[in-house]
Amino acid sequence: MDLSYSIITLLLPLFMFLLLGLFGMKMPKKVAGILGTCAMLVTTVIAYGVALKYFFDPQYMVDGVRQGQMVFNETWLTLGHGLKVDMGIFIDPIAAMMLIVISTISMMVHLYSLGYMHGEKGFQRYYAFLALFTFSMLGLVVATNIFQMFIFFEMVGVSSYLLIGFYYEKNSAVSASKKAFIVTRFADLGFLIGIMLLAYYCGTFDFKTLMSNPGSIVNSAAGVTFLGCSAASWALALIFVGGAGKSAMFPLHIWLPDAMEGPTPVSALIHAATMVVAGVYLVARMFPMYLFTPEVLDLITVTGAVTALYAAVVACAQTDIKRVLAFSTISQIAFMFTALGVARPELHEGVGYMASMFHLFTHAMFKGLLFLCAGAIIHMVHSNEMDAMGNLRKYMPITHITFLIACLAIAGIPPFAGFFSKDEILVAVYQQSTFWGVWMSAVAGLTAFYMFRLYYRIFWWNKPDYSHHTPHDCEWVMTVPLVILALISCVAGFIPFGHFVTWNGGNYDIHIMWEVAAPSIAIAVVGIVVATVLYRKENSLPDRIASSMKGLHRAAYRRFYIDEIYMFVTHKIIFGIICRGISWFDHNIVDGFMNLLARVTNGAAYSIRKLQSGQIQMYVWVYYIGALLLALVTCLLLI
């Protein structure tokens, strides 16, 4: 299959979006759903074909290094000074890998939603939005230039907005979607300014041109400094801010937990597997440039590490299962960022980059699986809260097994997928600094703990009252995706990922470093054991521990009050002071001045008008007095 077929993977979802969006309401729900799913199936097949062709055809290898391929590149918008924005398809290892990830998860979600969204109002609209999202996400990963990437960054933001707010009659969904859009918009502002700075110094948006000689570009901007950093550092840091917003890094993470208001398959697709890793993908895409600004890479490391710990701690205290998963997503993406941040070509052949991408790949699979399982559970229990669940292993065996596999994968237990990728990340981090290595290991332990806390609370613990509605495994359209993803989670670790994706396109052999792997397995097992002790059977120990650490638990439960701080800043300061202040200023000062002018004119007119009273006697009086004055003057002059 030729690479140029990849255009179909973009156009088909776009066409489906237009078709379902414009005429979906006219067709039966079932037709719309099946149409969307079939189109997605075609897309998936082509995406796989393209990716496999790219990976396995030796014509794309030059001297053992895989070369990026520019499949299409058309001018979309011409700006002055030779600057132009192109639209096209650029396939390189990470793009091909993302094609696989996105199409797989999207396919699974399309299929799964046939069951999950069955009977929902706006079913057709849902499939239209899914197609739009798939289109935008694919467009993002195959972007040939940074501006195209920005365009699709915005597009995925909007699709995410539309899907989070899918239940638009619910106020909470509406405000969650609004929050998600505005927070990521704020981050995109940084991205945009970064792009503008970059374009100013490089005169091009094109990835190929930028990457061909990143050193000279960065150095050309090194002379200009602002607050001690060069313009290139600022540009790259701002671009990272854009990515961090999309990837929900601390402190821009606040939108992701709220985004769980959307339908659960959407959470699986957008807010676990694909869109939220766009930030990681962005940094990975620009990685050769980042190598020349180590201070920005350090910023990325620190942001990632802090976020990983923060999210893990918060996840331990949440009771809404989707929120636990959301925080776990944040934490896992932070792992990827940390790995990117510590990646250096001279350290272990740049393993961090490979590890990050590997983790992105495996995480998409098992996190997607976790969300789809959660969706199945919520579908049965009709609640997001842990308290409404328990002992479900008896009722939903397939869900139970697949969920367990995903938990083991995320906890980093061999031979599941998460073990291999997380191990590579830890190796990379230890190479750079022992401090961050220990830190990340601890976070990995926490991960195992909170995931198994979740697992036990759902599937063990006690048995609540299911009398009015007995849970059971869902229909096949929902379980098949679970099983497929579980299988992938089991075997994905054995993919020789380093042969496909490395920072420079070369080859890298993954080999387990047991001095790093053994302690991390041990720490994960400790986490699992603690969770087992605490949550296997219903008991009061967790409550007692929580109450003994009341402040910490409460703070973690309230997500360390970050949302409240944001609320204060946005509502009180920006809305309350700035917006209202400007509004007041506009109404009273600017407008007031104009009205004052009008009033002065009017007043002058009125006061003059009084003289024209229309009373003849007044006129006579004035005339007479005037005549008298004249007479007086004449008298005084003559006599």
Binding site: Q617, W621, I625, L628, A631, C635, I639
Partner: protein, 172 residues
């Protein structure tokens, strides 16, 4: 004797003029005001007689006191109900009126007094005789100091006035 008699007559006339004109503008009853105006006009006619303009005095009596005032009285009777007093003046308006009147009297008085203080012309006896014949000739003549044209103009004016008055006041 003549001088004293003249002075006494003058005094009476002057007092009458002043008193009645003041009364005619201050009286709140409009009919009385008209009556006081009549007395003022009489006094003026007397002044003309005293100055030797008998014809003028007669005209004054006939036209003014006899004609115009009757018009006034009729119109007053037509437009006011009995007991229909003018309401009390607003003090602001009265002040304005007083100011104007007093200022006017003061300025003109100052001018008159300061001008006529030295060269006060007194009543000369060198006055030409104003008998009816001379008046008639002057009115009907076309020479210098003869007034046929104004006379005719006035008559046309009066005609126009008659027609106008009829047209305006006619009931529709």
């Amino acid at each position: 004797m003549n001088l004293i008699g003249n002075s006494i007559v003058y005094c009476v006339i002057a007092v009458a003029i002043i008193v009645f004109s003041v009364l005619s503008v201050t009286s709140r009853k409009i009919l009385r005001a008209a009556t006081y105006l009549l007395f003022t006009l009489f006094a003026t006619a007397a002044l003309y007689f005293q100055l030797g303009y008998e014809f003028l005095g007669a005209v004054q009596l006939a036209v003014y006191a006899g004609g115009i005032l009757v018009l006034f009285v009729f119109s007053i009777l037509l437009t006011t109900k009995p007991g229909d007093n003018a309401e009390r003046l607003v003090s602001k308006k009265r002040k304005l009126g007083l100011t104007a009147a007093v200022a006017g009297v003061a300025v003109c008085g100052y001018a008159l007094v300061s001008f006529f203080a030295e060269n006060a012309a007194s009543l000369s006896s060198a006055m030409i005789d104003v008998d009816m014949e001379r008046i008639g000739q002057a009115l009907m003549g076309t020479e210098k100091f003869e007034y046929l044209l104004p006379f005719e103009a006035i008559s046309v004016l009066l005609l126009a006035c008659i027609i106008g008055g009829v047209t305006v006041a006619r009931k529709r």
